[in-house]
Every structure is written in C-alpha cells, then in structure tokens.
C-alpha cells in the first residue's frame, strides 16, 4: 500500500469524477498527488511542482494531451519528467501517437489500476 514512498505525481484529467477517483486511489497507494484540469494547467503545474511523473489524459480542453506531451518533451526543464498517457480511445493508432508525441507509456480507460501502478513504478525506477 505504501509503495509510492511519497513520490510526487501530476494527474491531468478534465473529468471531475474520474480525476477525483484516480487521485484518491493514488493517494491510497502512497503517492503525493497534484492535479490539473486542462492542458495549460498541466504545463504550469509541471514547472511549479516538478513532479516525478505525469499521468496525462488526452482529451483535454485548452490544449489537448498530445500538445502537452510535445511541448513538455521539447522543453529542457520538463523533458526528464516521464509521462503516461491516459485515454478512452483504445485504437492501436492512439498508442502509436502517444509514443510519437513523447509519452513514455500508455494506459486505456477503464484504467486497470494495479497495472497502472506497475507502469508508474517501472518509469520511476528507470
């Protein structure tokens, strides 16, 4: 339960219900969680909070997830933060697009939470 060891995650999700749910589950898993509700907020929070990892929903207002991922990977200060894309689109092309945009991994909704934790830990360790 306390695998998170206080590592800081940035959770970007515009759907309030889903954001709240995931935030609580990550907190329970022992992580520190900061949230953002749109793409611009996500980039601001990355700079302000310097999280260890970002969980990035793709369908976001203002700037979508692909754009956030691209901007982050071209920014010297933000490049080192690993990104896991979260999307309700389940097509193979979406997965490829996530990796092309600079995301490090990819998870589809509905989220398989234990699997997501494994992905988070893998990226945090590397």
């Amino acid at each position: 339960m306390s695998s998170g060891q206080g590592r800081k995650l940035l959770l970007v999700e515009d759907n309030e219900v889903n954001r709240e749910m995931l935030q609580r589950r990550l907190l329970r898993a022992g992580y520190t969680v900061v949230c953002a509700a749109d793409g611009q907020q996500a980039l601001d929070q990355m700079r302000a909070e310097a999280p260890d990892l970002m969980l990035l929903d793709i369908n976001l207002p203002v700037k979508d997830g692909w754009q956030v991922a691209r901007e982050a990977s071209s920014d010297e200060a933000l490049r080192s933060i690993p990104v896991i894309a979260l999307t309700a689109h389940a097509m193979e092309s979406d997965r490829q697009q996530a990796l092309d945009s600079g995301c490090d991994d990819y998870a589809t909704k509905p989220i398989d939470f234990p699997n997501l934790l494994v992905k988070i830990e893998t990226l945090l360790k590397s």
Partner: protein
C-alpha cells in the same frame, strides 16, 4: 486549308469531286471530237482541191487536143476538098460535149471564193467551144468562112483556166493551213486537257484525302482523349459539316454523358466514403463515450472494495457519495446506450410513437428543472419564457417531446459557458413553437448544414472537446419529423445558436402509424 470543302459534308465533297472529274472528262471528249471534226473537214478539203486540180488538168489537155484537131482539120480543108465524115464530126462534137461537162463539174467544185474566176473561165470557154462547134457544123459548107487560126480566144480560155487553178490552189493552201492550225490547236488542247485532268484529279484526290483524314484525325484524337479519361475535351464540331459533324457531336454527347455518369459514381462513392468515415468516427466516439463512465464505475467500485478491506471505521458519508457517483455514471452509460438504440430503431423504422393528450408547457418546465445541475457545470443561467397559456394541450408523444427538450437543453449547456440559456414555447395557429437559444460557440453555415446528420458533429473534434456522439440532433430531427413537425436552426460562430422546433398541436396527420 482555307478551301471550301472544309465546311462541306463528306458526301457533298464526294459528289463535288465526281462532278469535277466528269466535267473534265467531258471537256476532254469534246476537244477530241472537235479535233476529229477538223481532221475530216481537212480531208474533204484536200480531196476537193485534188479533184479540182485534176479537172483543171484534164480540161487543159482536152482543150489542147481539141485545138490541135481543129487546126489540123482547118489546114486539111484549105488544101483538100474532102468533106468531114458524119462519124468524125459526131466524135468531135462528143469530145466538145465532154469538155463542157468537165467545165460544169469544175463549176460544181468551185466555191464562193472562186466564183468570179469560174464565171470568167466559163464565159471564155463557152465562147471557144461555141466557135469550135460552129467550125465543125459548117465544115462541109464551102461558102462558110472558117477562121479558127486565131489563138486569141484559146489563149484567153487557157489564161482564165490558169487563173482559176492558181486561185483554187491558193485557197486550198490557205484553208488547209487554217485547218492544220485547228488540228494543232485541238491536239494541244487535248494534251493540255489530259494533263490538266490528271493533275486536277490528283489534286482533288489529295485534298479529299487530306480533308477526310484531318476530319477523321480530329475524331480519333477526340476519342483517344475521351478514352484516356479527358472527358472535358470537346471535338471541334464547327470544322466539319454533315455526317462527320454529326459523328463529332455524337462523340461529344457521349463524352458528356460519360462524364456525368462518372461524376455521379464518384459523388456516390464520395458519399459512401464519407458515410463510412463518419461511422468509423462514430464508433471511436461511442467507444470513448462508453469508456469514460465505465472508468468511473469500475474505478470507484474497486476503490470502495479496497477501502472496505482497510482497518478502522469507514466514512459512511463518503461511501454514500461514492456510490452516488457510481450510480450517476451508470445512468449516463444507460442514457448513451438508449441514444444509440433509439437511433438504430429510427434507422430500421422500428421506432414507435405513443400519442396522447399532453400539456407541453409543464413538461418543458419539468425537463428544465430536472436538468438544472447541467446549468451549474458551466455557470450558465436559465430563462424560461413559456407564455401565459400554461393550459394549452396537444396531441403528441410525451416521451419524445421530453427527449427533444432534453437533448436541446443539454447541448445548449454543453456549448455555452457563463451565458444565458433561453427556453421559450408558444402556440401559434395550430403549431407549438418551442425554441432553445444559447450564447455559446455557435456554428458556421457549413457546420449548420451538417449538424443534423447522423454521426455528425459540427466538427470532428467536437466529440473530443465537448463529448457526445453526434447522435442527439439526429434523433431530435427524426423525432420532429415523426411527430409531423420540423426543426430549424439559426446560428453564427461566437453568437450562439437557436434551435426552433415546430410541432402540430393536433398530432401528426397522414401518418398511418399514428393510430
């Protein structure tokens, strides 16, 4: 290439060509006949001239021998008294008659041009012959004086004969040279005509071949271009006439019809492709829309399960709230599934309508009340303008009317932020006019044309930004049609949208399913 046959039909050109050749042929034949006629004329003239010359010669000799005989007899008469025998005299008279006969034949051969010469000869010769006849008839009469020694008359006749002969010869030469000239001329004309005929025939053949060839080449070029797919190409119809132009026109018509047919096929294909693309997009959107509430349902359920396993007292209020979220997400999912189902029913013609007497105003109020949480999501305000006639009633399908208002109201809330949403309804003539207006993002005319189509949203990215499957307005439009009414839209980008539904108060007429 400025020759006239360009504008003639092929048949006319062939006719013209044949007529030209036949004319040339006729000219040749006529020239030849003229030449032949001249040749025969010349032959006749030569023969006449030869006959005349022969006669002159004979006459000369006859006269000579007759004179000799007369001179001999005259000498004999002076020296002897021998009378002239009857037989002898007869012979001499016959000779003279023969000479006279020849003289007359010469006269028959003499033309107008030698008439004067002949008349002078005739007078002179007649006198001479008369003298000799008198000599013979008076020979045996001793008293009669016989004087024939004088050569004057004879010489005169000889001279006249000489003159006629010369004249005839001169005329014959003159005439034959004229005829020879004619023969040479006709020969030349025949040769020139023949060569000209060959040259003109070849020229006409070449022109005909070239013009026919260029016409056919234009047709061939056109057909080749049609064949290679260039259906906008047109064969120049005005360069030809008659059957070639008809053929060009027919080819052009054919190409036009082909182009139309291909356009139709292409547009049908484009429509089918667009429909397929819309369906794929729809499936992706449906998948996305189903996964979002499912994510909440599964996530919350798993989380509650985990929390139940935790030690210590659980927060009952939190637990209650979380279950509420699960239920809400489940209902959202159900609504979505119902929408898809509705559309499928409409598509397959299985959608039932249940007509009843209903009061539209309270129904609209009810829906707006029920959906008030949606207003709060984006800080929107609601203005209800449902006229004073709260008690008007109509014969329609309450469930469908409710769904229409729900969808329009949800859309207004979805696309408007911090604005006013106005729901108004009134009865006019025999119609219920229900309008939902917002102050949201609005639509371009092009988007307005598409927004009622199944699976379509104003933009394909709308589903990403605002959610939804592009089914709501398609369902509303179909419901309005089923209830005997229609829906109209006025909107501009950034100016908000206003949807107006028009439904008959007396229910859909002429719809057998309504009963």
């Amino acid at each position: 290439m400025s020759l006239k046959p360009k504008s003639l039909s092929l048949r006319a050109r062939l006719y013209l060509f044949s007529v030209a050749i036949l004319t040339l042929f006729a000219v040749n034949v006529a020239t030849h006949l003229w030449g032949s006629f001249a040749r025969s004329e010349s032959l006749v003239a030569y023969r006449d001239a030869a006959a005349a010359a022969q006669l002159v010669n004979d006459l000369e000799q006859g006269l000579e021998s007759a004179r000799q005989q007369v001179l001999v007899l005259a000498t004999l008469r002076e020296t002897t008294d021998d009378p002239l025998g009857d037989a002898e005299r007869e012979t001499a008279m016959a000779d003279l008659a023969l000479l006279e006969q020849r003289l007359q034949r010469l006269g028959a051969l003499a033309g107008e041009a030698t008439d004067d010469y002949y008349r002078r000869l005739f007078d002179s010769a007649n006198a001479l012959l008369g003298e000799w006849e008198t000599f013979y008839s008076n020979y045996n009469r001793p008293d009669a004086a016989v004087s024939v020694e004088s050569p004057i008359r004879y010489n005169d006749t000889r001279q006249k004969l000489e003159e006629l002969d010369q004249r005839q010869e001169f005329l014959a030469i003159q005439r034959s040279s004229t005829i020879d000239g004619t023969i040479r001329l006709t020969d030349r004309i025949t040769v020139i005509g023949f060569v000209t005929t060959i040259a003109v025939t070849m020229l006409l053949v070449i022109l005909l071949i070239r013009s026919a060839n260029s016409s056919l080449l234009r047709l061939k070029t056109g057909v080749q271009r049609f064949g290679s797919g260039d259906l906008s190409y047109r064969i120049d119809e005005n360069r030809d006439a008659g059957e070639i132009r008809d053929l060009a026109r027919t080819f052009n018509d054919m190409s036009g019809k082909l182009a139309t047919a291909i356009d139709e096929v292409n547009s049908a294909k484009a429509d089918a492709d667009a429909a397929n693309a819309a369906k794929s997009m729809f499936l992706a959107n449906v998948s996305h829309e189903l996964r979002t509430p499912l994510n909440a349902i599964i996530g919350y359920s798993e989380m509650l399960q985990d929390e139940l396993g935790d030690a210590g007292e659980m927060d009952r209020d939190q637990f209650h709230h979380d279950l509420g979220t699960i239920i809400l997400s489940g209902r959202q999912l159900l609504g979505l599934i119902n929408e898809i189902l509705d559309l499928s029913k409409i598509d397959t013609g299985k959608m039932q309508i249940n007509l009843e007497d209903l009061a539209p105003m309270p129904l609209a109020v009810q829906v707006c009340d029920a959906l008030s949480p949606l207003l709060a999501q984006r800080d929107n305000r609601l203005e209800l303008d449902l006229a004073d006639e709260q008690d008007i009633s109509m014969f329609s399908d309450a469930g469908k009317l409710q769904q229409i208002v729900t969808i329009l109201f949800s859309n207004a809330c979805k696309f408007t932020e911090n604005g006013l949403i106005k729901v108004s309804a009134r009865a006019e003539d025999n119609w219920l006019l229900l309008a939902v207006a917002d102050e949201g993002i609005g639509m371009t005319p092009e988007q307005q044309g598409r927004v009622f189509e199944t699976f379509e949203q104003a933009e394909s990215s709308t589903g990403v930004k605002y959610g939804g499957t592009g089914l709501g307005l398609a369902i509303v439009r179909d419901f309005c049609t089923m209830l005997g009414g229609d829906i109209s839209l006025s909107s501009a980008p950034g100016q908000g949208s206003r949807f107006t539904v028009r439904l008959p108060l007396t229910g859909p007429v002429s719809n057998p399913e309504a009963a």
